[in-house]
Symmetry: D2
Subunit: 386 residues, 4 copies
């Protein structure tokens, strides 16, 4: 548990960072929701604020007045415990509250927390606050990837930033790291913050395996495309093949073939695909098919965790072969916070690592991210095992 002073700094830094991410946006960019998985930026700004209001100020701060009674309805995401909420698919239909009002809401709640912390310090509050901060950091990653979706699917393809680097290169040589058979301890084991899905540290037996020290690159994936990988049913899951066929998928997300050359939309706008950069914006289905085609496989999340110290990571979330399931002795939290992770443990795949969009102090080698196997708008990537 960190001390209250540094916790306040951590809180304020986090609040500021969300707004920094939005700094390049036009007001219009805050509003739209082009597909159901993408939320409007102003919704992220409001929802992360609502979390602090709902779980700290409302129940614990004496004489606190809600900023607006309707905001719980507007900015609740999925907490059934807390009451009714705007249906997810309707978030992009809401022009009000305005962006200006959402920033006022942020300031009101941030100030409220500051005042509250000045006179209230106890472990329970600090624990919720810490969850709220990490919750906002999670949304910062979504905020960035949702903004990329909004701009990258606009026919004008506007750039987001001249400095954000979404295609960093791994310059070392590919090699295989050999891990010996044995019992490995998996899961969180320090006093630092973690989510409930990382807890229940436990033993896993792993047979000997090898895992790549490098992510698959764009160049390697272009070979897959050119070898007809998107047209060979035998390397895909049945559901993956349906997904490819129904959506007519022929390349990673954001890629455009212009006169025979591959371009992709990046934070800087449309650019030629950087062949040496690690592949990204692929679904689990594509990751699996690529591995099949190469004669290798994806690692499990346990294999990844046991080997993670041997390779540089932090550029792409990496699809694993593991389904998102509870660890032995998994305990979900009481009340609304118990809805955070456990109820999503079906039909999703685990991703490990972290990406160029992950904010500072939000990476852990035990962190378990999870998405449905067809999703591609995150900075997903692929590391082979055998």
């Amino acid at each position: 548990m960190i001390l209250t002073d540094s916790l306040l700094d951590f809180f304020l830094e986090t609040r500021k960072h969300s707004e920094d991410i939005c700094q390049p946006l036009e007001i219009e960019d805050y509003v739209v929701q082009p597909v159901i998985d993408v939320s409007p930026p102003k919704w992220h700004l409001g929802h992360t604020t609502w979390f602090f209001e709902e779980f700290i100020l409302k129940p614990h701060a004496k004489d606190y007045t809600l900023f607006d009674e309707d905001f719980s309805f507007v900015f609740n995401s999925y907490y059934e415990t807390v009451g009714k909420r705007v249906v997810r698919s309707d978030r992009g239909n809401l022009s009000r509250p305005s962006v200006k009002k959402v920033y006022e809401y942020r300031k009101y709640v941030t100030d409220g927390i500051k005042r509250f912390l000045a006179i209230n310090q106890n472990q329970e509050i600090n624990a919720i606050l810490e969850i709220g901060i990490h919750h906002e950091k999670q949304h910062q990653e979504l905020l960035l990837t949702d903004i990329k979706y909004i701009l990258g699917n606009n026919p004008l393809l506007p750039a987001y930033s001249k400095t954000f680097e979404d295609y960093p290169i791994e310059s070392h040589q590919q090699d295989w790291i050999a891990i010996e058979e044995g019992i490995y301890e998996i899961g969180h084991n320090s006093n630092d913050f973690c989510f409930d899905n990382e807890l229940g540290r436990h033993k896993v037996h792993l047979h000997s395996y090898e895992i790549s020290n490098k992510l698959v690159t764009n160049k390697e994936f272009i070979e897959f495309i050119e070898a007809g990988g998107y047209h060979r049913f035998d390397i895909w899951h049945a559901e993956g093949w349906d997904w490819v066929s129904q959506n007519n998928v022929t390349s990673p997300f954001y890629w455009h073939n212009i006169d025979g050359e591959w371009y992709n939309y990046t934070a800087k706008g449309l650019q030629k695909v950087e062949e040496q950069a690690p592949l990204t914006h692929i679904s689990y289905f594509e990751a699996f098919a690529y591995a099949q085609w190469k004669g290798f496989r994806l690692p499990t999340e346990f294999e990844w965790e046991a080997a993670q110290a041997f390779f540089p990571w932090g550029k792409r979330w990496e699809w694993t072969e593991s389904a998102y399931l509870p660890y032995p002795n998994y305990q979900k939290a009481d009340g609304a916070l118990g809805e955070y992770n456990g109820k999503f443990m079906v039909n999703q795949k685990v991703l490990r690592g972290s990406s160029v969009a992950t904010p500072s102090m939000h990476t852990r080698h035990t962190y378990r991210n999870f998405f449905h196997p067809q999703l591609r708008w995150q900075f997903t990537g692929l590391r082979l095992a055998k």
Copy 2:
């Protein structure tokens, strides 16, 4: 054909009026598209501008430079002749071009037309310009009703304007106007502007009938609701009954029952239903069911036109029993302008009259409006016949 000078005034007044309608909006309100039938206000502003650029400046103005080459893709509505376009359901996914840019586009094209007209005057250009003006006036009505939809379906129910009056009362007594059997001439018959679907003036034989001099009121419709009208299958079309059942329709659009009293969203925000005001925001299905329940029927568009001089109209578009079909000898225009009306002449019902949202100089007793029978977001109303 009107003279060029007054045509220019007419043009400028129309251009200004579209922007006046949007004056109360926040920038965010310009962007969203809560359902497929509603377009974002900035799209209306851009599309009506694109019409003048595409059909006048681009083909006829020497040395004219397009404001932005991508705008044809963004702001074309349905003219297949003119090329590719943003799918209608995606209009609300576009944060760019920004509202500011759209207003620059409007100014650029309005100035372009002014300069062009100063040196080009001929009947062909004037005719297209006149269509463009009336096209923009049509969109002004949609602009208002789309804004009402956007605000009236926002959970915060923000008001649009303190002065716009969408529930005007007809204070005269209801009575029946008797029309004699005979041959009546139907369709446009002056030199003034009209759309192609009003042309082909022709004779129609009408049997004797009676038609109400007054629109059905909210009070009368509340009687229908209280008599269980929404739950009696025998007074609905089969498709109407499916629509009621699947959408769980129990009142006109924008109506809310709060603690047993009827409220509705108006331009001034949520207000008690004004019982004396003419009913509005009903589908054809509801209009038909009400008439059945009362033992009367809807007039045909021919009966309406033959009697229109005897009653005050201009408050509600009135559903008729007529399907939207071509008049005898209907001729559609050549080229892209031929896509204006004819291709919609199936599966739609004719509405006659005009509404509180219809701009000045855009009403005619031969005007044929048309919508699918389930739509309710226009200021639709109901006049009985027998």
Copy 3:
């Protein structure tokens, strides 16, 4: 009103004819429902029987015992007045009652009617019986076209009959019949049976027009296909163009292009398209597009009725430009029989004439058939007007 004796003969002949139509079927053919518009043959056999049981025997025959209490649920089609029923899309999911049981049901009810008529003779009963007979005749046409659908969409393409002739040739020369402007009387005007939608004989003013004495042939439609008719948006309704695009329609229903030659499925199995035969199995959208392409139009149902004595008809149901609407002073019947026609009078087009599948004594020059504009499994055809 016809006399009871001949009415009994008429009844028995009609009952027998339904079973004759099914004589070539395997038991399996009676069961399936490949699309929602097609009903399983055993359902038609049961439903037409249920009509007599429900509206005559159950209310009027003393001491009558229902054949099976559950059959009302199974064989009611759409009469909301009469109670719950199997959802239309589920008809093909019912393996029971078996075909054998349905034939027993037919015999039981036919015998019941015979016994009942022997001692009950009055105008009211006769009128309902007559409706029931014509109701069964309507279903005989559907029975034939549904059987064609079931067999014609089976990958084995089994033949139905060696003698049924679905592609009869009209051997006379095409010519135009000129009709003078004037007032014409439209609607039923004898004591013979008709449906309620034909009543309300009334005057219609028609401007002068010309109408073809011959249906459009397959050969003529092949010219349309070869001229790219299915790829020219400008000759289609907007909804028609969506239908063509979404369903990838490139020819009439049942047509197959094999090595560059046109074949179609007929009652005799797959055969070369008979070029001289009248075109059939087209939607209203295709009929309209063809007429546009030729520079002509479809007749209205009034133009068709005013001219029908001048041309041979009875081979194809002919699409008209008219929407299916009530005639002036249309009165629907009381009770469940009132659900027969009126509630379908929206979003459908009128077809006139009769087809090779229409049973004897079921054709009238005032008969109004109706279908949604995209449907093609009936023996629909096309006659031009100008």
Copy 4:
């Protein structure tokens, strides 16, 4: 590998058993497909036959003549390698080939195999034959559950058999079996037949756990219903809660509440729910919610396999918490047979054990069955762990 003589007996016994299962059916019952997951019985009979023709007779039997060239198209299930096939959702639309023809096909291929085996004996052929036999046994289970679906969803609720017992009672007392922490070997380890998904025997570390010696009973599940289990979002997965809400699920499949008492459809027709019998026809979502409500959990497939010798099983397929994933070193077979298992290893849950519908010689303690988490028409059940 078993000897050819007993293999032939095994083959003939299996072929006969499929037909025995269908003995109580009417011809009509063979044809229908009420939902996409259920196949028509005649399709199962044809498909299991096609497997022997396609993989043995066609490639290996000299001078073999296909029974019908079109049958590969009709009876291929999902083998993309082998060519085009009827879309799964269309199986119930096929009235032909007739049931009689399918039985002829069965006899033709069974005789063909007999003749072929008399002169061809080698390990490769025997291995494929053995797969074909086990493939047919798998379909026998589906055949029974599909028949139950067809009859149990018919409004007449016809019985299937007077002797088939689908609600056997486990009469022993419930108790917990304690398993110690340790390394356990998982996967197939004999020379007997198994599917490829059971291979790759490997070590798994298990923490100590307890597992029930008895399945959850109907009586226990009624307590869950009465405690409002279907209405408490906090015990469901988010996707489970959506499934319950959208489908309005309030009880296990085949259950009907009649005047406050629970009945269920069984092979003998509609009967009162046998409270002592093990619960069945529940989805994984329901199994999980029940366990949550009781404060326990589902076992993993590894925990199940490590404990299986301690409890009687064979009545219900038991949902586990494990996702269906490849074992370490999983190798899929070459060619079309490689499509058997591997391509389904995403978004499905593992079930262990076997059910009242599993044919003899088709149970193994390493057998891995798998279904999507919402499916209920199999004889699924539930065993708790902690």
